[in-house]
């Protein structure tokens, strides 16, 4: 089973993306399903054992939340760019990671980077913390708390770790 159908979620998502690309028809569905089956078989050896998503629904919620954050933060950062530089207070924080697995940590770092104003630049070698550059660093502790509550906590649940 594993050999024929190594990554079921991937297969599904690929079929979905295929339909996104080509539009809906039965023909495309068949083709999408076929590719959704074939591609994972080809690609499987090259994909590390991801920590799998345990709660897909929570993931969806998380994504929508992230989307909203992106919009809001974008406006904020745009404002900061347009302001003179002297008002800028950039800084670094070392966010203490409690997510230790690679994939969830990557998702967290990505989320942080996607929301404007913060960029994940580096992981500590021992994965103890994530170094983040902040465009405008007002309050370090509240930012850390925000990240923990808004992103890390949900991700822990999603990935079940």
């Amino acid at each position: 089973m594993k050999r024929i159908f190594p990554m079921p979620i991937h297969s599904l998502m690929l079929t979905l993306v295929w339909l996104l690309l080509n539009g809906w028809s039965y023909g495309q569905l068949f083709l999408g399903l076929f590719l959704g089956l074939m591609i994972p078989i080809v690609a499987y050896p090259y994909v590390r054992g991801h920590t799998s998503v345990k709660k897909p629904l929570a993931m969806l919620v998380y994504l929508l939340l992230l989307l909203w954050d992106i919009v809001v933060a974008n406006v904020d950062v745009a404002r900061r760019i347009l302001m003179p530089n002297k008002h800028l207070k950039p800084g670094w924080i070392a966010y203490p990671l409690s997510l230790q697995e690679d994939f969830p940590a990557t998702v967290l770092a990505s989320s942080i980077s996607l929301t404007p104003g913060t960029v994940s630049v580096e992981f500590a070698e021992d994965m103890s913390c994530l170094y983040i550059h902040v465009l405008h660093l007002d309050n370090e502790t509240s930012l850390k708390a925000f990240i923990a509550k808004r992103y890390e906590q949900p991700l822990k649940e999603i990935f079940g770790c």
Partner: protein, 127 residues
């Protein structure tokens, strides 16, 4: 009649989205010019790639869907790609900048952290 209104409505929406997208694009790139050091500039493309492209794509998506009378959402795939890759690009460039000990403007908080992070890149800051 309602058809016409829909068209008009979507026109306004599309125009708005396209302009919003372009604005964020412009602001992001302006940030690239204007911001004082590399790490601050690193924030700029995320704007362009998220809201800038996002809004433009949604505009395009809506417009083509209305025009062709069927749902036309393949633009989303571009967004998926960008959302997946933009943080990695930033991460890689950031790492490179840390590795190269790019200077930061005075007043940057917790510079020590950056130095600590840079140590990962195998080099002490030259004196």
């Amino acid at each position: 009649m309602s058809d016409l209104t829909t068209v008009a409505m979507t026109d306004y929406l599309v125009a708005l989205l396209v302009l919003i997208g372009a604005s964020f694009m412009l602001i992001g790139s302006w940030g690239l010019v204007k911001l004082p050091d590399f790490f601050t500039r690193l924030h700029a493309p995320t704007k362009a790639s998220t809201l800038g492209i996002g809004a433009t794509l949604i505009g395009s998506l809506i417009w083509f869907s209305v025009q062709q009378g069927s749902v036309h959402i393949h633009e989303l795939v571009i967004s998926i790609f960008l959302f997946l890759t933009a943080p990695v690009s930033a991460y890689m460039m950031g790492k490179a900048a840390l590795h190269r000990h790019r200077p930061m403007i005075t007043g940057t908080k917790n510079v020590k952290l950056a130095e600590k992070a840079a140590r990962r890149e195998g080099l002490k800051k030259p004196d």
